[in-house]
Symmetry: C2
Subunit: 94 residues, 2 copies
């Protein structure tokens, strides 16, 4: 079953552009990861808010991707730009 991830991130206001730039470099890797159907970066600069939206072939592919990112420390690298906790949610595609 296809799975979607929605991650909502509020940046430290003056670091919004840097968060976007750092995330943008990760997108081609995400899209190339086995099982990734699509991945988008959604921006609301006026709210200093970024949403990462991804669709995966199944939950195994999604979990393999998240493990890979975590092991590389990629999520940790982003925390310096972030104001609050990220809101991370998963869904099945209806």
């Amino acid at each position: 079953m296809k799975e979607a991830i929605v991650v909502t991130i509020n940046s430290i206001p003056e670091l919004f552009d840097e968060l976007v730039a750092a995330t943008a470099t990760m997108m081609p890797e995400t899209r190339a990861f086995p099982g990734c159907i699509e991945a988008h970066m959604l921006l609301a600069p006026e709210r200093h808010e970024m949403v990462i939206f991804q669709i995966w072939e199944n939950s195994e592919a999604q979990n393999a991707y998240l493990t890979w990112r975590a092991e590389r420390g990629d999520f940790e690298r982003l925390t310096e730009f972030i104001e609050d906790e990220q809101i991370f949610r998963t869904y099945t595609l209806g």
Copy 2:
């Protein structure tokens, strides 16, 4: 510039399936609307939560669609299934 809509909807718990069914009938119309690039329904039944995710060619197409839905009363028809206010947010595509 491409625009995305993310609508987060929490249903009245026992009406989740009905909300999903009512929304599912709207999806083909949304996808066929001029300027719609993609539209998805994301489901988290365990949280009674549904997310509508859409990408539009530009904000004009997005606004034309929202006006069309509002004039038909389609959003109003869904309110009977919904617990809290919908969270409606728009983004530009990064």
